[in-house]
Subunit: 324 residues, 2 copies
C-alpha cells in the first residue's frame, strides 16, 4: 500500500526536531524539544512524544514509518549505534526501543547522511548521481552519494567527511584525532578564532556582537560582524573559506563529484565563505574536475528531518516491493 506520510526525526546535540512529511517533501506538522540530558531513555522518551505529537489524528496505516537521524556513527546494516560523541547512545538499540513503543517501523541513520539524502530527494542535489554534502555546524559532517546511491562503506559507517586529515600537525579534533576538517571549520574552531581576534582592537566588531564579553563569543558572532561589513571578521571567514576549499580540493581529486553542497548552520549563514571555497577549488583542483558545482544547501535545518522521512518512505517501499 502506498502510504501518504512519513515521520522524520532529527536528533541533534541541542534539540530534537520531528515532522510529519508528505511524499513530495512538504512538512505538514512539526514539533521540537530541547535534547534531554538524562541518558538514553530520556532521549527515546522525547522521540516517542514527538512522534505522537506530529502523527496525532493520522491513521497509523497512512504512515510509511519513522526515520531517525542521530549524530552518531551508525552501522546501517545492523541498525546499531556504534559511536556517539555528544549523546549517551552508543550501544543503545534506539530503533528497537522506538519500535517497542510505537506501532511503526523505524530506521536509524547518521544525521549527515540524512541531510545529504534530504538535499538529494528534495533540495539542491536533485538529480545528481555523484555529490558530496558537507555540513558545517558544531561538528562537521556530511554524506556522499556515489553513482546515485548513498555511500555507506564496508560496515555501513559511511563517509565522515569532517574527519579527513587536512593538516597532520594541526589542532586537536573533538574526535581525538588531529588536524581534521572539523578542527578548523566547526563552530568551536571559528569561535576560538573570533575570541583570539577580539583580544586586539581589530576584533572590536566581533566583541560588540557578544555584548563585550570575550568569553562568550560564538561562531555566529563572527559571522554577524562579517555580514555587517566588518573587515577583520570577513577576512577571518575568507581564510576559513580557503581552508574549506583546500579540504574540498582533496575530495574533488579523490571523488570527482558533480556537485558539492555546503550546509549546516555555518555553511548556510555564510555564502561568501562558500564562494571563496569554490574559487579555491576552481584554481587548485586537478584539471578536468574544476567544473564541479559548489552550492549552498537549500533545505536549511530541515534537510536532516526531510532526509529521515525520505529514508522512511524508501524503507517502506522496499519492504512492500514498491518501486520508488
Amino acid at each position: 500500500m502506498r502510504t501518504s506520510y512519513a515521520v522524520g526525526i532529527d536528533v541533534g546535540g541541542t534539540r530534537i526536531a520531528a515532522g510529519l512529511v508528505e511524499r513530495k517533501g512538504r512538512t505538514i506538522k512539526e514539533a521540537k524539544v530541547l535534547t534531554p540530558k538524562g541518558g538514553p531513555f530520556a532521549v527515546v522518551d522525547a522521540i516517542i512524544e514527538l512522534v505522537d505529537q506530529v502523527s496525532a489524528g493520522v491513521h497509523p496505516s497512512e504512515i510509511a514509518g519513522i526515520g531517525v537521524g542521530l549524530p552518531a556513527q551508525i552501522d546501517f546494516m545492523r541498525q546499531s549505534v556504534e559511536f556517539c560523541t555528544n549523546l549517551p547512545l552508543a550501544g543503545v538499540d534506539v530503533r528497537a526501543l522506538i519500535m517497542s513503543r510505537v506501532r511503526q517501523q523505524a530506521t536509524i541513520d547518521n544525521d549527515g547522511n540524512l541531510a545529504a539524502f534530504g538535499e538529494f530527494r528534495y533540495g539542491a542535489a536533485k538529480g545528481m548521481r555523484d555529490f558530496l554534502m558537507i555540513t558545517l555546524g558544531t561538528g562537521v559532517g556530511g554524506g556522499m552519494f556515489l553513482a546515485g546511491e548513498p555511500y555507506r562503506g564496508a560496515r555501513g559507517l559511511r563517509g565522515e567527511v569532517g574527519h579527513m586529515v587536512i593538516q597532520m600537525d594541526g589542532p586537536p579534533c573533538p574526535c581525538g584525532g588531529r588536524g581534521h576538517i572539523e578542527s578548523y571549520l566547526g563552530r568551536p574552531a571559528i569561535a576560538a578564532m573570533g575570541r583570539e581576534l577580539a583580544k586586539s582592537f581589530k576584533g572590536r566588531a566581533v566583541l560588540e556582537q557578544a555584548g563585550g564579553d570575550i568569553d562568550t563569543i560564538t561562531a555566529e558572532d563572527v559571522i554577524k560582524a562579517a555580514l555587517l561589513g566588518d573587515e577583520p571578521a570577513t577576512s577571518l571567514l575568507m581564510d576559513s573559506g580557503v581552508v574549506l576549499g583546500r579540504a574540498l580540493c582533496g575530495l574533488v581529486n579523490l571523488l570527482n563529484p558533480q556537485m558539492i553542497v555546503v550546509g549546516g548552520g555555518i555553511g548556510e549563514a555564510c555564502g561568501f565563505m562558500v564562494e571563496r571555497a569554490a574559487q579555491v577549488i576552481a584554481e587548485e583542483s586537478l584539471a578536468g574536475r574544476r567544473d564541479v558545482r559548489v552550492v549552498q544547501a537549500e533545505l536549511g535545518n530541515d534537510a536532516g528531518l526531510l532526509g529521515a522521512a525520505a529514508l522512511a518512505f524508501d524503507e517502506h517501499d522496499s519492504r512492500e516491493g514498491l518501486a520508488r
Copy 2:
C-alpha cells in the same frame, strides 16, 4: 565466443610493459621497452610493436582485446586522455590510434585504476567489495573499488588518491597543488629527505648506497640503507609511515573500506613502512573502522598489466553479452 587471452599494456613514465594474459591471470608472454621520448606517435608505435610481439602466433579471434593503462587522467566514458603529466598524450586519441593499426578492440584506463583492478581480480584484494589501493612510486596513485565496482566519479576521472591535501601549508606537489600525499610519499620526496639526511654524519649509510655522491641519492638508496639496518634511514621511513597512516586515516574515516592495498615500488619494497601506517590507522582512525586490513600488494609491477588484461576481458565479455 569465449576468448582465451587478452593483451595487457602498462605504459609508465620510464617503460612500457606488455603481456599476453590468460583468463586466470597467468601471463604467458611478456615484452618491455623503454618509453620513447619522441611524442605521442612514438608511444603508440611502441605499443603496437609490443602488441605484435606478445600476440605473435595466436589467432586474433582468440584474443579478447587490448587493455591499456596510462599514467594519465582518463575520461573513461569518452575514452579520452584529459591530462597527462609525464607523457605528451593529453588530447591524443590513443585508443583510436591503436585500433586503426591492430585488429583488436582496445580500452584505455588510468594506470592506478588498473593496478587496483589487477589486485581485485588476481591479487591481494580478491573478493573485496570496498577497498582502496594506493601506489607509492614516482607519483602516488591508486584506485578505489566501492560496492564491488571500480569507482570512476562523475566524469570518469576517478580517484586520484595521491592528490588529497594532507598538509595545507605543506611542500609543493608536482601537480601544482600543495601538501598532497604525493608531496610526502612520492619517490622524489623521499629522495629529497634522503639527501637532506646525508648532509649530516647520520646519513652516511644512505650516502654510501649512492656511492658517496649526495646529488644522486634516490628513494631506493634510503630504503636499501634501512633494510640493511641503518637506524636514521629506518627512522626516516618510519616517519613516512606515520604520514602514510595519517593520510589513510582520513580515507578510512571517509570511506570505511574493508582493505587498503599499498603497492608501487616504494610500497612493495618497504613492508615496515606499511606496518607503521597500519599501526597509525589502528590508533587514530574513528572507532568502528579500525578493523580495516592494511596489506602490501601481491602482484608487484605486474598489477597494472594484469588489470589492463582483466579490463580487456570484461569489456569483451560485456560486448558479447557474456556474464563474468
